[in-house]
Symmetry: C2
Subunit: 322 residues, 2 copies
Amino acid sequence: MGPASASAKTDASEKWQAWYERQRKRVDALLSEHIDRSKSCVGSHSRLPAAVDYSVTLPAKRVRPVLVLECARVALGAGGEDWENDLDSRRPSERTAAAIRAAIAVELVHTFTLIHDDLPAMDDDDLRRGHPTSHRVFGEGNAILAGDWLLAHALTFLAETPGAPLGARLAQVLGCGVRDVIAGQAADLAGESTPVHADLVRYVHEHKTARLIECACRLGAICGGAGAEQEQRLAAYGRHAGLAFQIADDLLDCGGTPDRMGKRTRKDAAASKQTYPAAFGEAESRAAAWREVASATAELEPYGALGRNLALLAEYMIQRDR
Amino acid sequence: MGPASASAKTDASEKWQAWYERQRKRVDALLSEHIDRSKSCVGSHSRLPAAVDYSVTLPAKRVRPVLVLECARVALGAGGEDWENDLDSRRPSERTAAAIRAAIAVELVHTFTLIHDDLPAMDDDDLRRGHPTSHRVFGEGNAILAGDWLLAHALTFLAETPGAPLGARLAQVLGCGVRDVIAGQAADLAGESTPVHADLVRYVHEHKTARLIECACRLGAICGGAGAEQEQRLAAYGRHAGLAFQIADDLLDCGGTPDRMGKRTRKDAAASKQTYPAAFGEAESRAAAWREVASATAELEPYGALGRNLALLAEYMIQRDR
């Protein structure tokens, strides 16, 4: 590769990083605003509102909501600038408003899964996103209820999407996804007391992690008005990217540090978890992660330049250091 | 009262009991069938399917689903026999099918709340419906996940109701109700460390218990095609009956036995719970329960004979012995 093309690649990467950071900040702002507006329905006379606020507003990568928004843009075929203007407008178009709603709902559901996964009866973690976990701050009872509330609220909020039958469809897609995530977490728990097994590792990863990322992409596609084929394509992209994401997570757990990861590391081996490196070795896991990224990217081919952000996002999922 | 009218009253009461028992068994059958059909979406590689099945199929009163079905019948203005035939038919009418769906969903959500309320971090109960609680049988992790799954599934299943925008509307109503139930449980937890306070007792009872019973009636009304006024009326009936139900529960906790109740009793005082007897005394609590029953019954006046089962159901809520 000559110096010109190397610098072109650096430019593209920097441009992408700036784009991602803009999207992440947009999502942060949307979530904060949403939590403020939802105060009245989190109840009173308890620390539940504080517990919900705490977990949702901790610093985070926001991969899933960024995926919802970008898949909606791709399905709409919208140019980047027009799309960002619509996202920031006080009265976004109906499709954009639905995508914003789905982005928020997906991140609330993801937050629910983190709060419950961290509980003493599950992974028993003290640290999440670099801060004490919900049950460490608010006690186990409130942490369980904060997770419950986020799950109930996310599905309700999606069902309220204007333009029937869109609300019901979005709630169904997210609800089916969450059921699978929960089944995956149960299998992950059960897997701690059985020898590492390739089929089980795949089941856990596909359900616990990949399904919600697939769901995010599918929701974005539906909000963007995708037809059945396009919806399947973007969902498949998400499934492959999600699997890559989890394999990378397993590898980071072997090699990362708690400082960088914002959570305890090297805990998978200690807990005899069903992980890719444990089942297939580190080298094959790295290769598998790259194969998934390649499969994810292949789904984007028909979109050409429109799919570039998503392609780089799939690569980012396995190149990130936290 | 002369002997003739006393015996007429006994007849009415026996007829009502037979009706209630028929409805309860119908609901039991619908729930078992539903859980069987849902096996494929509870996942595998774990005890999650067994935990879900266990808690849903324990013997129970099924008050909430019976209310859904009866409020649907009242809203439809259907005669008892026609309605029961439609309920049992292989192809019930669209409205009846929606009511069946809502009845199932409400009981699944109720089961979710029981599983989580019984956890060690909440009320720490070993016994529910006369059997060991979910976490005693399946461990805390699986119990938390079984509750999560039931909540996610109930809202998804409702969102799938045919005939847009009905699915979205039903999921919204149930979702808003569940959020309040969760907020009520959080206030109940927080109330253990504050002196008994009338406002807080009312908040906890209205949210933790009455809201889901109100929700059941509202869902039934909507499925039966009620207009706004009728929906409000049946929801108000449910709110009053629900409050009566919880006050009666508090009184049973003071005076009941574990054998009869199927759960630990006299635990409210031990845990310094926010209860009606603690806040208002036993006599005033009994009076309050009867006032709520009277308010519930008053909402049924326009329905005449059509509302008789619901009126007797409100009375049953405070006359039951478990």
